[in-house]
């Protein structure tokens, strides 16, 4: 069939003008244009709140407290501390004995840090500073739950100290048990180390045998501010409680008994210690 040119042109024009089928992309006739909704929502817009994110160090976590042997955690850059230790009577003795100490840290614990502690073993009877020592602990945080350290206790003694100098290495591990690690029984901290000199057994000390011995401690939070701890120093089994004050007050202290099994001495002895720690720099 032949179509006249005029009809053909009309057909093409009609085809071009035919309405397109409605595609899925076309807006629904009843929808509110976005600009209207935006302007309606804009009238309810609130001013920005002047807040900022803060990283807060939890006051309580899995404890790693000890009562006679060192742990692998220590002071690092900008941290200072001071404390005192006391035993109600010395082993085989009747007189009380005390010591005070102060120290600081340098370096970053995530890389390597050094803790320096100066201790006066003489206090009230002999006078402060007459007998004392400087001790060092190099420590590193492998991660937030594992630390390792090597220390030289009483590395630089003066006067006449009873303790001698000891070398040790120790690792401390924080093991979470529950969701909130700062809650009671939220985790256990354990430390295990090897050292010579004062870490030897009483028998080895008496026999004059050199060598090394194992020491370690374990602690668990039983109330939020209270930690129960047991400590094997290599000679003594010590046990007691550590207390932390609320509201991030940087003072903690411990109360307990040394040699609770009577293995290395003449019976259990009351011991106590405590100190402050600050991060002023």
């Amino acid at each position: 069939m032949q179509m006249k040119p005029t009809v053909l042109v009309l057909a093409l024009l009609l085809g071009a003008a035919a309405p397109r089928s409605i595609s899925a992309q076309d807006p629904a006739p009843a929808a509110t244009p976005p600009s209207v909704l935006d302007s309606l929502r804009a009238q309810f817009r609130l001013p920005d709140i002047p807040v900022q994110m803060q990283i807060v160090r939890s006051a309580y976590g899995v404890p790693a407290a000890s009562l006679g042997s060192p742990t692998a955690f220590g002071a690092s850059r900008g941290a200072v501390f001071a404390g005192a230790g006391y035993q109600q009577r010395t082993r085989y003795g009747n007189l009380g004995d005390g010591a005070i100490s102060a120290g600081f840290g340098i370096g970053a614990a995530r890389i390597v840090a050094l803790e320096v502690t100066v201790t006066s073993f003489s206090t009230l009877r002999q006078g402060f500073g007459k007998n004392g020592s400087a001790s060092f602990k190099v420590h590193r945080l492998i991660n937030s739950r594992l630390g390792v350290a090597a220390g030289y206790e009483n590395a630089v003694p003066w006067g006449g100290t009873d303790g001698g100098s000891s070398l040790y290495v120790v690792a401390s591990r924080l093991i979470p048990l529950a969701g909130d690690e700062g809650k009671p029984f939220g985790g256990v901290g354990v430390s295990l180390g090897v050292g010579n000199a004062r870490f030897r057994s009483e028998r080895a000390v008496r026999a004059g045998e050199e060598g090394v011995n194992v020491f370690g401690s374990a602690s668990v939070r039983i109330l939020q501010p209270v930690t129960l701890m047991a400590d094997w120093t290599g000679q003594d089994l010590n046990a007691g409680l550590a207390f932390q004050l609320p509201n991030n007050i940087p003072f903690s202290f411990s109360l307990g008994f040394a040699d609770i099994t009577g293995r290395a001495g003449d019976g259990a002895r009351f011991i106590a210690g405590g100190g402050v720690s600050l991060q002023p720099f």
């Binding site: 002047p50 005192a84 230790g85 010395t90 840290g105 937030s144 630390g147 009873d162 720690s277």
Partner: protein, 203 residues
């Protein structure tokens, strides 16, 4: 050898050696005084938590004062709507919101009342946000002006942030008909949150 010397010699030979302190390391049998372990747990790592707080103490003070003023206005039903939304808020709605803001315990009825008001407007529920968002917003407002919240800047910042986020989520989910005829609970809530931040940005 005189008698005294003889007695001394016999005594020295006969006596059992006493345990010297140095044999038992007595200087180190208590808490460890040669490391920071003397202060237990001082340097034990703890987990860090992130939180929000106001950018300065001045901001916290301003927001606290604003909220105290807002609470008083709601209680007296004199709260003015924000400048962007010019509509009066009935006294019962202001009082209901005051109850939510000052409530610290057993707030279920007050929360439900305001949440129900937020979930609908005069035209019904067309375009209304999901009821869950209304409840979330009302719960975020609960206790915002309570003394324990206002007196603790960090708690106040967290709750104000939560309320602001919940309010914005509700607005974003609302439709045209709801926003054109907002319920008085929404207007009042907007006025409260706006007034709370009045003058705080520049502090």
């Amino acid at each position: 050898m005189n008698t005294t010397m003889r007695v001394m010699l016999v005594t020295l030979l006969a006596v059992t050696p006493a345990a010297a302190q140095s044999n038992n390391q007595s200087d180190v049998t208590g808490p460890t005084v040669t490391t920071s372990d003397v202060a237990p747990n001082s340097f034990t790592p703890t987990s860090n938590t992130s939180t929000v707080n106001f950018t300065s103490p001045g901001v916290a003070t301003t927001v606290s004062q604003n909220l105290n003023q807002v609470q008083a206005q709601l209680t007296q039903a004199t709260l003015a709507p924000s400048s962007a939304v010019q509509a009066a808020v009935p006294a019962p709605v202001q009082n209901a919101l005051a109850n939510v803001l000052s409530c610290s315990s057993a707030c279920g009825a007050a929360v439900q009342q305001v949440a129900a008001g937020l979930s609908t407007n005069a035209a019904g529920s067309a375009g209304a946000p999901p009821a869950a968002l209304a409840v979330e917003l009302t719960q975020a407002l609960q206790g915002l002006t309570d003394a324990s919240t206002i007196s603790n800047p960090q708690v106040l910042a967290v709750q104000l942030q939560r309320a602001s986020t919940a309010f914005s989520a509700l607005i974003e989910s609302a439709g045209e008909s709801y926003l054109r005829n907002p319920p008085p609970e929404l207007i009042a809530t907007h006025a409260v949150l706006t007034a709370a931040l009045n003058g705080a940005a520049g502090r």
